[in-house]
Every structure is written in structure tokens, then in C-alpha cells.
């Protein structure tokens, strides 16, 4: 069990018993490396399964995932960055002025 948020090390690997025959292992560091690709759905189904199992039991990695998902959602919102008033009109000014 991870006792303190700043004390996670690469050697601390979470082991999840999937069933009697299979053990899926993935470390927090491996999860952090792939969390952006996970949001992009750009990972293998096998890795996705391992990460999902990890998120269920690791509050730290879930916090990293939730935070990143939040940020990506907010940044994509059209209200965050808008063009300045009158931009449309000025944008074509050099085309109109061409000889």
C-alpha cells in the first residue's frame, strides 16, 4: 500500500491477481508513461486492460488520469481561447490591399 503520495518508487509494483492462472503486473511509472496514449485510445487492448485494472486499485494513478482528462476536456472547449473582436474583418485586409 502506498502510504504517502511522494514516496512512490519504480520498485513499488502493483500486482493484481486476475484469476488463478494469470497475474497482470504494471507499475505506476509505466501507467504514467502511457496515460496520455490511454486517453487517445492509442494503446493495445492488452495494455488497456492492465491499466484499467490498475486504476481500480491505485488512487494515485486514478488521480493522474482524472486530472489529465479534466485538463484535456477544458482545453478543448471553444470558450477558452477566442479570436479578438474584429479579427475576421482584419484577417483578409492584406488580400484586399494586394495590387
Amino acid at each position: 500500500m502506498l502510504e504517502h503520495r511522494t514516496e512512490i518508487s519504480e520498485s513499488e509494483t502493483l500486482v493484481i491477481k486476475k484469476d488463478a492462472m494469470t497475474t497482470i503486473e504494471i507499475s505506476c511509472v509505466e501507467v504514467w508513461r502511457e496515460v496520455s496514449n490511454y486517453l487517445e485510445a492509442d494503446i493495445s487492448p492488452e495494455l488497456r486492460e492492465r491499466m484499467e485494472a490498475h486504476f481500480k486499485v491505485c488512487v494515485h494513478c486514478s488521480a493522474v488520469l482524472d486530472g489529465m482528462r479534466n485538463i484535456v476536456g477544458l482545453v478543448a472547449d471553444g470558450r477558452l481561447f477566442q479570436t479578438p473582436p474584429g479579427f475576421h474583418k482584419r484577417l483578409y485586409s492584406k488580400i484586399r490591399l494586394r495590387p
Binding site: W32, S62, G73
Partner: protein, 213 residues
């Protein structure tokens, strides 16, 4: 026989033919859906509204002049953003004020592992908060504080919603490099905006409300 997949929306292809056929007014209609992309691309590199507007004007003029050379090998929007990106980079090279920034940029190591600085739990942030000036400014400031190579990829992929492939084409990078930088940039943004960065969890104090959410 292999046929190339058409990359253009029919309406865009028609508009391009009209402009090239001597109807310059159709150009505004062609560019209008991408005006915001052009502006954001320019300002993400230049970080100054006046410079970004001027570069945006130069970029659409260049796109207008070169439109007959556009062969539809990529989407029109990718082509337009690429022109804008190159114009902005040229402007930046002329502007010595940014030399310090590029030095700083080279010191980053995007290949090494990045360790999140904070593991505070995130409540979902409702998007209605973007109506609030303070929230918008906090997010804008975090994005503007990223070094250029991270800021550019966040703008292209997460703000303008271009694909990784299109972003890689525009930036002249491999898709793998774009993914690595995007990943790092998102982690940096997350850390910059994490509620726990107040340090309260390490000092045992309650969260102070320093973020607008």
C-alpha cells in the same frame, strides 16, 4: 488499381476551384471555419496578440497566393495551419527577444520519465466554469507558461483538435515525438493546475482555494 482517397470535403474542393477560377470572394468562405485555428496557431508561437494578428494576415495572404499549388494531399485545414505555423516561426526567428526561450526549451528532456508532482484527487471541473474570466485566465496562463515545443503541440492537438498525424506533419516531427511531447505537456498542465499544489496535503492543512474551481 489503387485510387487515392479524396481528402477534400466537396464544398471545399468547389470553393478552391472557384477561387482559382477568378472568384477571390470565395476564399473567405473557404477559410472562415479555420480562422480560429489560424489565430491560435500564431498566438501559441508568438504569445502576443498584435504579432499573432499580423502573422495570421500574412498566412492567409500566402495561402491565397499559393492556392493553385494546393493538390489536396492533406486536408486544406492542415495545409493552412502549416503555412501559419511556418510564418509564425519565421517571425520568431527575426525577433531576438525569444532567444532566451529557445535556450530554455533545449534544456528539457522529453525522453526521460516524468514524475507527477501531485496526486491530489481531482473532482470533475464543470465546463460551465469556463464562463468565468478567472478560470479562463488561470488555464490560459498555464498553457502560456509551457515551453514552446509543448505549447505548440497542446494547441494543435488539444485546442484545435488536429490528429496526431496532422500535427506531426505541421511540426515536421515523427508521430512518436508528437505523442511523447503531448504526454509531457498534459502532465505539466495537470501539475500546474492541480488543486494539491497549494501544499496543503503535505502540511496537513485543509485545501486553500487558490484555483477558481
Amino acid at each position: 488499381m489503387h485510387m487515392p482517397q479524396p481528402q477534400l470535403e466537396p464544398t471545399e474542393a468547389q470553393l478552391i476551384r472557384r477561387v482559382c477560377g477568378g472568384e477571390p470572394d470565395a476564399f473567405e468562405e473557404l477559410v472562415r471555419p479555420y480562422e480560429r485555428m489560424v489565430y491560435l496557431t500564431a498566438i501559441s508561437i508568438l504569445r502576443n496578440q498584435a504579432d499573432a494578428e499580423e502573422v495570421a494576415q500574412d498566412a492567409v495572404l500566402k495561402a491565397f497566393s499559393k492556392l493553385s499549388t494546393f493538390r489536396g494531399e492533406c486536408k486544406f485545414s492542415t495545409w493552412l495551419v502549416e503555412i501559419t505555423y511556418n510564418e509564425a516561426r519565421m517571425r520568431l526567428r527575426k525577433d531576438r527577444r525569444h532567444l532566451y526561450e529557445s535556450l530554455d526549451d533545449q534544456q528539457q528532456d522529453p525522453e526521460g520519465d516524468y514524475w507527477p508532482r501531485d496526486f491530489a484527487d481531482w473532482r470533475p471541473i464543470p465546463s460551465e466554469l469556463l464562463e468565468d474570466d478567472e478560470t479562463r485566465q488561470t488555464l490560459q496562463h498555464a498553457i502560456n507558461s509551457l515551453s514552446p515545443s509543448y505549447r505548440e503541440i497542446v494547441v494543435l492537438r488539444d485546442i484545435e483538435n488536429l490528429s496526431i498525424k496532422d500535427a506531426a506533419t505541421i511540426l515536421g516531427l515523427s508521430e512518436a515525438t508528437v505523442k511523447t511531447r503531448l504526454h509531457r505537456a498534459r502532465l505539466l498542465l495537470r501539475d500546474a493546475l492541480a488543486p494539491g499544489l497549494d501544499g496543503c496535503w503535505s502540511t496537513g492543512q485543509r485545501y486553500q482555494k487558490v484555483r477558481p474551481w
